[in-house]
């Protein structure tokens, strides 16, 4: 590995986005967004299509100018620096390889632009070809490569000039599942090896959770929450984040009383105790529990657990896990996901207890 690409290298940049806004005509693509991207971190911008995540990436890249706000890199204002002078690596959706150039020429392009000597270009391209596992394909045109190989060329081309930031715009959306997982590991490895700051855009929440050091969740041009994967998954700050990151059961609570570290509310005459993740000043609220944190049993579990009675309506087999569809007495539908191996089959239409540990449930504001 070349000396200059060690982790923690000074080449990794930190970027501060301050009050970034972007309008296209009357459409507000981004609303007053502030976000600090740390040196060498792997930040994922996650959100549905049209949430503004790609617009933000394009502003970071310098391809789109923000309507309001500033971008500061390593203390320097770069808002008006054009893309060609920012020198960030970028991997586009669909790869955007130069179709008329060979693998080698594609990877050499950014070095040639920088006027590197041909010996230098040759050495660096050779290193990069080896690092991404493309030896033997150097002379091929992109059209002759498989999707995964094209992806590797795009990564190599974006990293060969040792950029301080690598931007990735849904790079795996065209790959099938097995290849996608392989490329995810590859990107994770490249991040660790190069120590470069990675900013990754995706709409796939499991990809975001698996790869990132932090996840930023976007919706309707707003940044809803930023945090480590565990934080956003287990302590989402609102309903959109909770639902976007995975399936979630929502139980409306009648009254909520805050009580030191915990909160308690009534659901179908039973008291539900929850972690007090957010402060709700006397408002209505819902208890939120993920399907895999609940379990089904014939009798209620009591030690540090909440429990409610439900009727089983059906089951869906997913291999590793089986998802049970249930309904509470008042008609709220629930999903409980359990490892397939762990339980004896549960008969449809039987009445069961659904329990979950107190620390796995959390409060969310009602209707938002």
């Amino acid at each position: 590995m070349p000396q200059s690409m060690q982790p923690g290298d000074a080449k990794a940049a930190e970027i501060k986005a301050v009050s970034i806004g972007k309008t296209f005509g009357a459409f507000h693509a981004l609303k007053n967004l502030s976000l600090d991207i740390g040196r060498g971190e792997f930040l994922t911008l996650l959100g549905p299509s049209g949430s503004g995540k790609t617009t933000f990436l394009m502003i970071l890249a310098g391809f789109t100018a923000p309507t309001t706000g500033r971008l500061v890199m390593d203390g320097k204002d770069i808002t008006d620096v054009p893309a060609e002078d920012r020198s960030y690596g970028m991997v586009f959706q669909g790869y955007a390889l130069f179709p008329h150039l060979t693998v080698e020429q594609n990877i050499a392009f950014p070095l040639k632009v920088r006027g590197r000597s041909s010996a230098d270009v040759k050495r660096k391209v050779g290193e990069m070809v080896e690092r991404v596992g493309l030896i033997g394909h150097e002379k091929k045109l992109p059209a002759k490569l498989s999707g995964g190989q094209q992806q590797r060329v795009a990564l190599a081309r974006a990293l060969v000039f040792e950029p301080s930031v690598l931007l990735l715009d849904e790079p795996f959306s065209a790959l099938d599942k097995n290849l996608r997982e392989m490329m995810q590991q590859e990107v994770k490895r490249l991040h660790q090896e190069t120590g470069t700051t990675f900013v990754f855009v995706t709409h796939d929440q499991s990809e975001a959770l698996a790869l990132s050091s932090r996840v930023a969740i976007f919706n309707h041009g707003e940044l809803l929450q930023v945090g480590k994967p565990q934080d956003v998954y287990e302590r989402p700050s609102n309903r959109f984040v909770a639902e976007f990151l995975g399936e979630i059961n929502l139980l409306p609570l009648d009254t909520v009383e805050l009580n030191g570290e915990t909160a308690a509310g009534k659901f179908e005459d039973r008291t539900i105790v929850l972690n007090k993740s957010i402060t709700l000043a006397g408002k209505k609220a819902v208890a939120a529990v993920r399907p895999e944190h609940m379990f089904i049993s014939a009798s209620p579990q009591t030690s540090d657990c909440n429990a409610i009675t439900c009727r089983v309506e059906g089951a869906t087999y997913f291999g590793a896990s089986t998802k049970y569809h249930l309904r509470t007495r008042s008609g709220t539908s629930l999903a409980v996901s359990m490892p397939t191996a762990s339980t004896s089959p549960i008969a449809p239409q039987s009445d069961v207890w659904v329990s979950w540990p107190v620390h796995q449930g959390f409060l969310l504001p009602d209707g938002g």
């Binding site: 890249a61 310098g62 054009p82 002078d85 955007a96 130069f98 392009f109 632009v113």
Partner: protein, 277 residues
């Protein structure tokens, strides 16, 4: 995965169309071929004349020279227009569209006439230059080979714009963004990425223009004032002004074979989709 199966039913449906194509395109040409061998008498006489007649020879050489110059002039101009059309602002696009489409559809004659209004001794340019005192005698801009080249270039530009614009349109915008992101200047991107990605369209345009220019007749006849006789005009003169139908037919046959050969060559390099925009 979805294979197109040619059923016998389909072939039956297509048979009358094929018959029509034959009647409309192949038979008339065969008539010309027959004339070239039978008029005024049966034999290869007309082809022999074609090989030896110095007038015919010099016309062929002049035709080739003019066609090559025109092709080059057309390509440069058409590339610029296609660029504005594909990548300009919406106002620029509309303007380019107007400039391309309107002349494309207005008769050859009306446009040649427009050029005469510009270039002739009594035309705009000479009038302006004379009244401004720059020249005393009108410049010979029309009714000579320069006039032919200007008129033909102008006429052929739209035919070249379409395939070039089509090639430009099919360029993935992200490939250009990628080049910018890697630090390449606009000039560098244009020459090392944009232009190479339009080679297909350029080759298609060059062949279209060259072949079309070969068969050119009307514009040279008007602008050249009879002095720059080109091949197609020669056909016309031989048939309608002298009674030499046989030689005219022979020239037609040679022209068709030459163009057919060019087309066959072209098929090896580019897809038909590139040729028609």
């Amino acid at each position: 995965m979805i294979g197109k199966t040619i059923t016998s039913r389909k072939i039956l449906l297509l048979a009358p169309l094929l018959l029509f194509l034959g009647l409309a395109y192949v038979v008339p040409f065969l008539g010309v071929v027959r004339w070239s061998f039978t008029m005024p008498e049966v034999g290869l006489g007309q082809y022999r004349a074609l090989m030896t007649d110095p007038l015919v020879q010099s016309v062929f050489i002049r035709t080739l020279r003019i066609c090559l110059i025109v092709t080059a002039a057309v390509l440069v101009t058409a590339y610029a227009i296609a660029y504005v059309w594909v990548r300009g602002s919406s106002v620029q696009r509309m303007l380019a569209e107007f400039c391309i489409l309107v002349p494309f559809w207005i008769s050859v004659l009306t446009r040649a006439f427009g050029w005469l209004a510009m270039l002739s001794n009594r035309g705009l340019i000479n009038t302006w230059l004379q009244s401004a005192g720059v020249i005393s005698e009108p410049l010979a801009l029309a009714r000579n080979e320069l006039g032919v080249i200007i008129g033909m270039t102008h006429f052929l530009i739209p035919f070249a714009v379409f395939p070039i614009a089509s090639a430009m349109r099919s360029i993935d915008e992200r490939v250009l963004l990628a080049a910018r992101g890697m630090g390449a200047s606009r000039t560098r991107i244009f020459w090392t990425v944009f232009v190479p990605l339009t080679y297909g369209g350029l080759i298609g345009a060059a062949l279209i223009v060259f072949v079309f220019a070969l068969g050119f007749f009307v514009t040279p006849a008007i602008l050249g004032g009879g002095r720059s006789v080109m091949v197609a005009e020669l056909v016309y003169l031989r048939i309608f002004q002298s009674p030499d139908w046989g030689l005219g037919a022979a020239i037609s046959v040679v022209l068709v074979l030459f163009i057919g050969a060019l087309l066959a060559l072209m098929r090896r390099f580019i897809k038909p989709a590139h040729l028609i925009g």
